[in-house]
């Protein structure tokens, strides 16, 4: 069995050493965010600030990265969350991960702080730290142009240098957006990481692996979601869908519906702007939009960006969204946290609590304000700190739309209450993906599990979280898991009696899902339909990996991250949402249009095998074979 090899790099001393992952760790934690969470627990002392010199950032891959498995260019960054103080993991589809592996490293463990702006080069099995003051101040695009085109690159923009709490890291045109990875790299004076080599990833059983990949890719291509809808409309296709179910955050989450939303929808994007669709390396889904911006063909916006630079600031100007999306990317700013902070600033203005010159519905000054925020000019420095810190200063906690400090994604949880639970408990803060993404089952997918009932939501959330964690840890894109809603429902459509019936039954399936999560060791089969990743992992690594073990991997990952959060001082109290979402009704005539967190949380803790204070029990940790991780 080939064990992952990491490089442990200390930027303060400029020294590095090879760091081999033990067989035990590889078997239990596989790679990606799961293994990274374990390493963060091991290698960092409790209570260290996220921007401290001794803070650690892990950039790593999973076993499937760069193997030819579909959508397998996603690499992971794990670090202490700059916005929440808990764990952060951020996933990116750029070429850096693929090339890092080819350079002979499965991951990098980076600590220390360089004396001057530096570049980390991982080339052909060697690491070199090289000062590069000339790159400081350049945007992400210009920085990457300074390196050979064939290198895998991961860089920060001016936002990371200036310590915007939600600064992102960029690889090619793909972004590790959330949680402030750019700020961490910036604090380490690490402007860029580059990797290149020609070492192909080793596969345990190449022939069997390739045979399975062929089957899997055909399955993806034939599935209506990954073969048709995502390539045609990208994630942007969700705008109209969310709007139709009142789940599209509008005017800083005051409402869930915006009459003009169609102007920034995926359909409009496809019909009027799309030049072509494209994708990350190795991805047959190809959800990326290529659109014209300033006369150039550039990356188009995702759903979140459309929602936040559109309806959530009460605007619907497609060209503004396209341009802001690009500018945020090259400056290295997370579009979700930034645009959500803008909406919060707009509401502060509306209520006369603060004036940043921002008003709902106005998009003319956005570019100018982005620059001021990136440069932390005057009061705009407050916007660079995100909604939680803005609320601490100006008030408005009840409508500062974040959980634990991380801004929520573009799904109105009052019309998707399971998503609300997910936002509240997600380890990295208000994230839809880390939160189990129940919105897909409740309000924006083809299925419509009753979006307003708390019933069954805790169990489905735990299941989905485990599945998504495992997919990430394996090194694949979460979109490759979108095939798990059987294609037949797309053929029937959302208004068919069958689809409706399934939606009705789902809330009652909670106990069954809970049972499934409890008998995982016994699930010794792999299903192309459910989670093909387990089978691919088995053939790539030679590990005993079936659906059950795969879900266990996800559960381990989720519990490790929870342990990290608890160690860093977060508690059950932090599993919360702003009062706008838990107290105020979205539709005053319907008492169910709020997130009944108080009903769902106890069930969730119970399903997870956690105590009433949200701490993983001894028994649960023993079951997962990681009792020692809580010490």
């Amino acid at each position: 069995m080939k064990l992952p090899v990491y490089a442990k790099v200390d930027l303060t001393t400029g020294r590095w050493e090879r760091f081999e992952i033990s067989q035990e760790y590889f078997k239990k934690y596989i790679g990606g965010k799961c293994l990274a969470a374990r390493l963060l627990l091991d290698l960092t002392e409790p209570g260290l600030g996220p921007l401290d010199e001794r803070a650690v950032i892990i950039v790593n891959t999973g076993p499937l990265n760069g193997t030819g498995a579909p959508s397998s260019s996603r690499f992971n960054l794990s670090f202490k969350n700059v916005l929440t103080g808990g764990i952060a993991s951020s996933n990116c589809g750029g070429q850096f991960g693929v090339m890092l592996k080819r350079a002979g490293f499965d991951g990098l463990i980076i600590t220390g702080r360089a004396a001057e702006p530096s570049v980390l080069e991982a080339l052909d099995g060697e690491i070199r730290i090289r000062p590069a003051p000339e790159l400081w101040g350049l945007d992400a695009e210009k920085t990457q142009e300074r390196f050979p085109e064939w290198y895998g690159k991961l860089v920060i923009g001016p936002a990371g240098e200036n310590g915007l709490l939600y600064a992102s890291a960029i690889s090619g045109e793909r972004v590790a957006g959330r949680c402030g990875s750019g700020a961490v790299l910036g604090s380490k004076k690490l402007k860029a990481l580059v990797a290149y080599g020609s070492k192909r990833p080793e596969i345990y059983d190449r022939e069997a692996f390739d045979r399975f990949i062929l089957k899997w890719i055909r399955f993806i291509k034939r599935h209506p979601m990954t073969g048709q809808s995502l390539p045609r409309y990208g994630s942007a296709g969700l705008v109209n869908k969310a709007n139709a179910t009142n789940a599209l955050p509008t005017k800083n989450f005051q409402r869930g519906h915006f009459d003009e939303a169609d102007a920034v929808s995926g359909e409009t994007l496809t019909e009027t702007r799309l030049i072509r669709n494209s994708g990350c390396v190795s991805c047959p889904i190809r959800c990326e939009r290529r659109v014209p911006v300033d006369g150039r063909e550039l990356k188009g916006p995702e759903y979140e960006t459309l929602g936040f630079f559109g309806p959530n600031i009460e605007a619907a100007d497609m060209d503004t969204v396209l341009r802001m999306n690009w500018l945020c990317d090259i400056y290295g700013v997370d579009t979700i946290s930034f645009a959500s902070s803008l909406a919060f600033a707009m509401e502060l203005k509306e209520r006369g609590m603060a004036d940043f010159g921002l008003e709902f519905g106005r998009t003319d000054k956005l570019e100018d304000i982005l620059l001021k925020v990136v440069n932390r000019e005057g009061i705009y420095s407050d916007i660079a700190d995100g909604t939680k810190r803005m609320a601490a200063k100006y008030g408005g906690e009840d409508f500062a739309i974040n959980s634990k400090g991380l801004e929520l994604a573009s799904y109105e949880p009052r019309r998707s209450v399971g998503m609300g639970l997910g936002y509240a408990v997600a380890n990295r803060g208000g994230c839809h993906l880390n939160g189990g993404y129940l919105a897909l089952l409740e309000s924006v997918g083809v299925l419509s599990m009753d979006a307003l009932t708390p019933k069954g939501k805790a169990q489905f959330t735990a299941f989905m979280q485990d599945a998504l964690e495992a997919v990430s840890s394996a090194g694949c894109c979460l979109f490759s898991a979108q095939t798990f809603v059987p294609g037949v429902f797309f053929k029937l459509g959302p208004n068919s009696p069958v689809t409706k019936l399934v939606g009705k039954v789902m809330p009652h399936m909670g106990p069954m899902v809970a049972l499934l999560l409890n008998i995982t060791p016994a699930i010794a089969f792999n299903s192309l339909l459910l989670l093909p990743h387990a089978e691919a992992l088995r053939r790539a690594t030679g590990l005993r990996m079936f659906t059950g073990q795969f879900l266990d991997l996800g559960e381990r990952s989720y519990n490790l991250e929870r342990l990290y959060n608890l160690r860093e001082g977060l508690t059950a109290k932090d599993d919360s949402l702003p009062k706008r979402l838990t107290r105020d009704l979205q539709d005053p005539s319907d008492s169910r249009t709020r997130v009944p967190l108080e009903k769902m949380l106890p069930v969730y803790y119970n399903v997870r095998g956690w105590d009433a204070a949200g701490r993983p029990t001894r028994r649960k940790l023993r079951r997962l074979g990681m009792e020692e991780a809580s010490k």
Binding site: G237, F490, L492, G493
Partner: protein
Amino acid sequence: MSVEVTYRGALPELMGVSSERLEAGTVSEVMAHIRKTYPRAAYREAKRMLIVVNGESIQLRQGYKTALSEGDRLSFLPICGGG
């Protein structure tokens, strides 16, 4: 009732039109019109799409029985995914 219907996704190509004004009292009547007027493939496709009345899915109303009022806007949208 005179309502305005917009066809998105694959429908315009299958039907040859992207919008029209219709007389219809319920969504079912619009579906019947599509079945009668356009090729079978268009009807099949329309049936599996997201149907939205004045921006709200008919799933949140009474499904195909949803009543239409004068001037309502009806759209057929493709089912999308992502995140």
